[in-house]
C-alpha cells in the first residue's frame, strides 16, 4: 500500500509529461486528488495503529539491498507535511502559472518530486532513502531550471544538481561502508547497534556530507538562494518545505544511531551554527523579499541541523517540533511573497508596503507568519523556539553544548532582525516616489480574477492560520508530536506549552527579540547584493577548473593523430607481449606445423604481399596488395580446414577492395608523408617489433592450453540441441548468438557512421564551393 501512494504520484507525473501536456490544469486536478488520497491513506494506515505498516520490494536480495518502506510516527508526520503542503502549493500553482507554457512540465515534475519526497520520508533504510534522495535531486534540478530560456536559472540548476549530486555520492559511499561493515542500513537496526570505530566515523562523515549538501549547510549553503531562480511554487515547496528537509530527515533518522560520536556532534554543531549565522546575516542584507526568505531558510536549516543532530532526546523533540513550525510558516511566507509578486509585480522590500492596501488578507497572513518565524508569543514558532532553547540549556554536552547555545542565540537575534526588517517592509510607509501609482497601473495590468486570487490567497491564509492555531493548541500539538519523535528515539518524549512561565529560556527569548528588533529596525544593513555570492564564485571556479583540466588531459591523451594512435596501441601490445614472453620463456615451436609445401608457399607469398603493402607509394597498388594478403589468408584458412572462414574472408576481401577503390577516387594518387612524427626509423622499429612478437604470443597461447577445448562440447551438442551440422554457424547463431547480435549492431552503427561522415564531408565541400 505504501508503494501505491508513491507510485501513484509518479504515475500522474508521467501522465502529465507524456499525455496531458495540452491540459495541464486537468493534470493538476488529478494530482490534487492523488495527493489528498495519499495523505488520507497515510493517516488511515499510520495513525493510532498497533504495529507500524511496512512494505518491501526485493531489489538485490543477495547484496542486502531492497526497497523498504515503513510508516512509523515520524514518517506519518513528514509525509503529511509533504503531501498537505504539496496539495496547497499545487492548488496555488493553478492560479500562479495561468497560461504559462511551462505549466505542464511543472505539474509533471512537481508530482514526480512529491513522490520522491514521500519515498525519502517513508524509507526504512539508508539505501531506500538514497534511491529516492537522488530522485529528488534530479526533479529539483529540472524544476529550478524550469524557465530554461534564462541563463541564470540554468546555471543555478546545474549548481544545485552538482552540489546535491556530489553529496548523494558521498551518501552512497556511507551506505556502502555501513552495509559491508554492519550488514544492514536499516535505521532501527543502526540505532540498536550504536556502531562506532574508525570506518564508521568515515561513514558518518560521508552521511553528514550528504545531509549538509542537501540541506544547504555551510559550506554548501550557496546553492539554495540560487535556486530561487525557480518560480514561486517551486521555491516554496522544494526549497523551504520539503527538499531541503530531506537532509534534516536523514539527520533525524541517523542521529539516534551516531549522535553519541564526537565526530558527528562537532561536525553537526559547527556546520549548523555557522550556517545559521551566515544565513541570518545574509538575509538581513537582502533587498529582494524572496532572497531574504531564501537566506532565512538557510539560517533556519542551520538551527534544525543543530537541534536534530545534537544527539540529545529533548533537542530531537524540539527539532521535530520546529521542523513542523518552519514548514508551516515558511510555505506561507514564500507563497505570500509570490502573491504580491504576481499581483503587484515587485518583490523589492522597499515597495512591498503597497501590498497591504491591495492584498490585506495576504499581508496579515504574512505578518502572522513572520512573527512565528521571529519566535514571538503566541505563535507556534515561539513555542518551538522556547523548546529549542530549553533543550540547549539542558543539554549536558560540555563545550559543544555551550558553542551550540551561544550560536543559536546569536542566530536567533539575526532571525528576529531579518523578520523585523521584513515586517517593516510590509507595514512601513508606502514609498512616496510614485511607485504606488505605477504599481496600481501594473496591478490593473496584472489583475487576476476573483477565483485566481482566492486560489492564490487561500493556501497562504490557511498556513498562517495554522501557525496561530498551533500556537494556542501547543499542548495538544505537543502530544501529537510525541509519537513521531519517539519513533526516532524512544527517549525523545517531551511536551510543548504556550506559556512556560518565567525561566531562563524565556529571559533569553525576550533579550533576543529586543536586541533583534533594534538591529532589524535601526541598523541600515541592506545592500543590493552582488550577483554571485562567495560560495557560488568558488563553485564556479572549481567547476571551470575541472572542465579545463579535463580538456587538457583530453588534448594530451587524444591528440587526433592517427600515426601516434597506431604507434601507442601497437607499442603497448608489443611491450605486454614481451613482458609475458620474458616471464614465461619462449614458446615451443611444436605447434608450428608445416604439413604441405603448398601451405609454405602461400604463406611466403602472403608475406611478400604484406611487405609490398608497406613499401609501395601508390595507393591503388597498395590496395591491390592488401587484397592479395586477404586472399592469401583465405587460402590458408581453407587449407587448415576452415571453409566457413575462408568463404567469408574471400567475400569480405572482394567487397573491401572495391570499396577501397571507390573511396580512393577522391584521394591523391600517391601516399603523402602526413606527419613528421614518428620518424621512419621509429615506424619501422615498431612494425618489426609487433610483427615478431605477436606470432610468438600466438604460439605461446596455443601451446598454453590446459583446460579442454570448448569446441568438443559444441560438437556434441550442435546437432541435438541446435539442429545444425555446421558447428561454426551454430556457434554464431545459437551458442554465442548474443555476440553475433552485438556484432551486427556494431556493423549497423559503423555503416550509419560512414554514411554520415560522407554526408558531412560533402556538405562542407558544398559550402566551400558556394
Amino acid at each position: 500500500m505504501l508503494f501505491v501512494a508513491i507510485v501513484a504520484q509518479f504515475a500522474v507525473g508521467g501522465l502529465t509529461l507524456l499525455g496531458l501536456r495540452r491540459r495541464p490544469a486537468n493534470a493538476a486536478l488529478i494530482g490534487l486528488v492523488v495527493l489528498a488520497s495519499a495523505a488520507a491513506m497515510i493517516v488511515a494506515e499510520g495513525v493510532g495503529v498497533e504495529s507500524t505498516p511496512r512494505s518491501r520490494v526485493d531489489w538485490l536480495p543477495a547484496l542486502g539491498f531492497n526497497l523498504t518502506l515503513e510508516l512509523d510516527g515520524f514518517a506519518v508526520l513528514m509525509s503529511i507535511v509533504v503531501l498537505v503542503l504539496g496539495f496547497g502549493v499545487l492548488l496555488y500553482s493553478l492560479a500562479y502559472f495561468e497560461h504559462d507554457a511551462t505549466y505542464a512540465r511543472f505539474v509533471g515534475l512537481f508530482m514526480a518530486f512529491a513522490g520522491s519526497m514521500t519515498g525519502v520520508v517513508l524509507a526504512a533504510d539508508l539505501f531506500t532513502m538514497f534511491v529516492f534522495w537522488e530522485l529528488t535531486s534530479i526533479c529539483s534540478f529540472l524544476l529550478i531550471g524550469l524557465n530554461d530560456t534564462s541563463e541564470s536559472a540554468r546555471k543555478s540548476a546545474v549548481r544545485a544538481l552538482l552540489t546535491t549530486g556530489a553529496g548523494g555520492l558521498c551518501l552512497l559511499g556511507g551506505v556502502g561502508i555501513l552495509q559491508t561493515e554492519l550488514g544492514t542500513t536499516t535505521f532501527a537496526e543502526l540505532v540498536k547497534l550504536q556502531p562506532s570505530g574508525a570506518l564508521i566515523d568515515a561513514a558518518i562523515v560521508l552521511v553528514l556530507l550528504g545531509a549538509f549538501t542537501k540541506s544547504a549547510q555551510f559550506p554548501f549553503h550557496f546553492w539554495l538562494p540560487g535556486a530561487m531562480a525557480a518560480p514561486t511554487p517551486v521555491s516554496a515547496y522544494l526549497h523551504s518545505a520539503t527538499m531541503v528537509k530531506a537532509g534534516i530527515v536523514l539527520l533525524a533518522r541517523t542521529s539516534p544511531a551516531f549522535g553519541q560520536s564526537d565526530v558527528w556532534r562537532w561536525w553537526v554543531i559547527v556546520a549548523g551554527i555557522t550556517t545559521m549565522v551566515i544565513g541570518g546575516w545574509r538575509a538581513l542584507r537582502q533587498t529582494d523579499a524572496k532572497l531574504l526568505l531564501a537566506h532565512s531558510t538557510v539560517s533556519q536549516l542551520g538551527l534544525l541541523t543543530v537541534l536534530v543532530g545534537m544527539g540529545t532526546s529533548t533537542a530531537l523533540y524540539a527539532g521535530v517540533a520546529h521542523l513542523l513550525a518552519h514548514a508551516v510558516f515558511k510555505v506561507a511566507l514564500f507563497l505570500g511573497v509570490g502573491v504580491i509578486d504576481h499581483e503587484l509585480g515587485t518583490r523589492d522590500v522597499t515597495k512591498l508596503a503597497a501590498a497591504r492596501i491591495r492584498l490585506p488578507f495576504v499581508t496579515s497572513a504574512l505578518v502572522a507568519s513572520t512573527l512565528s518565524m521571529a519566535g514571538v508569543i503566541p505563535l507556534f514558532g515561539f513555542v518551538t523556539k522556547e523548546k529549542a532553547l530549553v533543550a540547549l540549556l539542558d543539554a549536558e554536552l560540555g563545550l559543544a553544548g555551550s558553542v551550540a547555545l551561544v550560536g543559536v542565540v546569536l542566530g536567533s537575534v539575526l532571525s528576529v532582525a531579518y523578520s523585523v526588517r521584513f515586517l517593516h517592509a510590509l507595514l512601513g510607509e508606502v514609498a512616496p516616489d510614485g511607485t504606488r501609482g505605477d504599481d496600481q497601473q501594473n496591478g490593473e495590468h496584472h489583475s487576476s480574477t476573483l477565483i485566481a486570487r482566492t486560489l492564490l490567497g487561500a493556501p497562504v491564509i490557511v498556513a498562517a492560520t495554522a501557525s496561530i492555531v498551533f500556537g494556542f493548541a501547543a499542548t495538544q500539538i505537543g502530544k501529537w508530536l510525541v509519537a513521531p519523535s519517539t519513533s526516532l528515539d524512544v527517549l525523545a518524549k517531551s511536551k510543548l506549552v504556550l506559556w512556560p512561565g518565567v525561566n531562563d529560556a524565556l529571559i533569553i527569548s525576550v533579550v533576543v527579540v529586543a536586541v533583534g528588533a533594534v538591529v532589524g529596525w535601526r541598523v541600515p544593513l541592506a545592500v543590493s547584493a552582488s550577483p554571485n555570492s562567495l560560495g557560488e564564485r568558488m563553485f564556479d571556479a572549481i567547476y571551470d577548473s575541472i572542465l579545463s583540466a579535463s580538456k587538457k588531459i583530453t588534448q594530451v591523451s587524444q591528440p587526433g593523430s592517427l600515426p601516434i594512435y597506431v604507434v601507442v596501441t601497437t607499442l603497448v601490445v608489443a611491450v605486454a607481449a614481451l613482458v609475458g614472453l620474458l616471464r614465461d620463456g619462449m614458446p615451443s615451436f611444436d605447434a608450428f606445423v608445416t604439413d604441405s609445401p603448398l601451405t609454405v608457399s602461400v604463406a611466403l607469398l602472403t608475406a611478400v604481399l604484406t611487405v609490398g603493402v608497406a613499401v609501395v607509394s601508390v595507393r591503388f597498388t597498395a590496395a591491390v596488395f592488401l587484397g592479395g594478403v586477404g586472399y592469401g589468408i583465405a587460402v590458408l584458412f581453407l587449407m587448415r580446414g576452415a571453409p566457413d572462414l575462408a568463404l567469408t574472408q574471400v567475400l569480405v576481401e572482394t567487397l573491401t577492395i572495391v570499396i577501397f577503390l571507390l573511396a580512393m577516387r577522391s584521394m591523391p594518387r600517391n601516399f603523402i608523408p602526413a606527419s613528421k612524427w614518428p620518424p621512419k626509423a621509429v615506424r619501422v622499429l615498431v612494425s618489426v617489433a609487433v610483427g615478431v612478437l605477436l606470432p610468438l604470443v600466438a604460439l605461446a597461447v596455443y601451446s598454453a592450453r590446459r583446460a579442454p577445448s570448448v569446441s568438443d562440447e559444441y560438437f556434441t551438442r550442435s546437432v541435438d540441441e541446435a539442429g545444425g551440422a555446421n558447428v561454426v554457424n551454430v556457434i554464431l547463431v545459437d551458442f554465442r548468438g548474443f555476440d553475433t547480435m552485438g556484432e551486427i549492431t556494431v556493423l549497423a552503427v559503423a555503416a550509419l557512421g560512414v554514411v554520415n561522415l560522407v554526408r558531412v564531408a560533402e556538405r562542407n565541400r558544398r559550402e566551400r564551393a558556394s
Binding site: T648, L651, I659, G723, G724, L747, V755
Partner: protein, 154 residues
C-alpha cells in the same frame, strides 16, 4: 575510372549474373546451418551483386527497382535478429534458444526448420544493408546518391 553505362555488361550483369547470384546467396544463407555458408556469407554475396551493378554504372537495384532506403533494410534486419533473440523469453526459455520444427511438405518430404534460421536471416539483411550503405555513400562523387534521410537524391 569512368562509370558510364555499358550495354553488354549491363545486359549480362542485369539479366543473368545478378539473378543467379541472388539465388546463390539465398542458397548459401539457408545451407549455412549444416554446411559452410550462413547469413553473413549470403549477405556478402548479395553485396557482390550490388558491386557488380554499381561498376556497370547503375544504382544497386533488385528486379529493376533501385533500393532507396538501405537504412530501412538495416533496421529490419536488426529487428528480425532482435525478435528471434527475445521470443524464447516469452515461452520461458533462455534467449536465442533454438527450437526445431519438423514439417512435412508435400512432394518434398520432411523439412527441418530451426528457429535460429530467422536470426541468420536478420544477419543477412543487416549485411546487405551495410554493403549498400557504404557503396552508396562512398561510391557517390560530387553529389550523394544518399539524400538527407537516406533517400536517394537521384
Amino acid at each position: 575510372m569512368n562509370f558510364r553505362p555499358s550495354a553488354i555488361l549491363d545486359e549480362l550483369v542485369d539479366r543473368w549474373l545478378s539473378k543467379v547470384a541472388v539465388l546463390v546467396a539465398v542458397y548459401v544463407t539457408f545451407r549455412g546451418h549444416n554446411a559452410p555458408g550462413g547469413g553473413f556469407a549470403g549477405g556478402l554475396v548479395v553485396g557482390g551483386v550490388f558491386v557488380l551493378q554499381f561498376l556497370t554504372g547503375r544504382e544497386p537495384h533488385i528486379r529493376h527497382r533501385p533500393i532507396r532506403r538501405p537504412t530501412l533494410l538495416l533496421g529490419f534486419g536488426l529487428l528480425v535478429a532482435l525478435v528471434t533473440t527475445v521470443i524464447p523469453l516469452v515461452v520461458d526459455a533462455s534467449p536465442l534458444e533454438s527450437h526445431i520444427w519438423k514439417l512435412n511438405v508435400p512432394f518434398i518430404g520432411e523439412v527441418k526448420v530451426v528457429s535460429s534460421m530467422f536470426f541468420d536471416l536478420g544477419v543477412f539483411f543487416v549485411v546487405v544493408a551495410v554493403v549498400l550503405m557504404v557503396l552508396l555513400s562512398l561510391g557517390a562523387r560530387g553529389e550523394s546518391l544518399v539524400g538527407d534521410d537516406g533517400v536517394g537524391a537521384s
